[in-house]
Subunit: 200 residues, 2 copies
């Protein structure tokens, strides 16, 4: 599917066919696209919980104000981030690079993040959100629809998915077969309202 | 360009052709794609500074540790977010929806954000980062390359672009013609390392 067509066709779908099952190959293809998304210093700090289990989905729906997408989607991806990714054997993030590049970049990673917990959390939100958009567009290209979701109790979600320490939940993305085409966009701002040239 | 091809071809390019000029139509097409990205409650909280002016780029390069991408790219998009978007005439975000939907959603927007400044900032990071990835993939499909950048002094950048109060800078995206193909990816983690099934 053409990239611009996928961008235009992506809409937040509320009603999914709860009988549809995604194959393991499809899930791998989708998440394989997600991990081609950029991260600062290539720290690959995103983590993905691929939820298909009916019981886990039901628990999440309860933590998500009973929204039907949580259980009716075929795959619920909980996009998370690891605040400690920057120091989990960072040499592997640059293993294909020349030694001189590694000698420069590895201390730069340490220096950027070591004393900056706020930045580590921001990086989780940035990396995770870019990956989430990749998932939504890749899903569209695979014939699926999606719904990005933050309507849930984050603490309760963390408990359900057993979120490890030093991790953040960024958002959830429901993926599945839409039962009905999306309605007209709610009210799109014009470019003039959100773009300025050179400075505000 | 195929969506999966754009996702795979997107790499962070460091060397751009500083003589290349993007047309106004190209810039509008690119940012027109960006604003089709999702935002919570359709609050469309992203704001984009489209920098092409040589003097502004030079100032940003100075605030960005002299990285050449800031001046050599054809278009530098400073992706920002407005923490107050949720209450700037929110009825326009749902103008195409039935009155009953509006009656439900407008108070829900107010209730979600009014007393939650942390969430408002997180939403800027989420919405802005999803839009940034859309820009990168759309640029790829238009024959351009990109580089997402946070390597700059955020306060100095805010001063240069005259960032209004209640706005956050999310990241910058350099867009232009690459002078050389990207090198091999630095060191890609496997899916097994970043994906868990159902829970951690």
């Amino acid at each position: 599917m053409d990239t611009f067509a996928a961008i235009a066709a992506r809409r937040s779908v509320k009603k999914f066919d709860d009988a549809h099952v995604m194959t393991a190959d499809e899930i791998n293809r989708l998440l394989g696209a997600a991990i081609l998304s950029p991260t600062s210093f290539n720290i690959q700090n995103w983590r993905f919980v691929a939820v298909t289990d009916a019981e886990v989905k039901a628990q999440i729906r309860k933590a998500g104000w009973n929204q039907a997408q949580y259980t009716d989607c075929s795959l619920l991806v909980i996009v998370c981030g690891d605040r400690e990714a920057y120091r989990r054997d960072p040499a592997r993030y640059w293993v294909n690079s020349p030694q001189a590049a590694r000698d420069y970049i590895l201390p730069a990673i340490e220096s950027a993040y070591a004393d900056n917990p706020g930045l580590r959390r921001d990086e989780n939100l940035r990396s995770g959100s870019m990956a989430a958009q990749t998932i939504m567009l890749a899903a569209q290209a695979m014939g699926y629809d999606t719904c990005p979701m933050i309507g849930f109790d984050f603490d309760e979600m963390a408990r359900i998915i057993r979120l490890p320490a030093e991790h953040d939940i960024v958002m959830a993305v429901a993926v599945g077969k839409a039962l009905a085409p999306a309605r007209e966009r709610g009210g799109q701002l014009s470019l003039e309202e959100v773009v300025v040239r050179d400075r505000f």
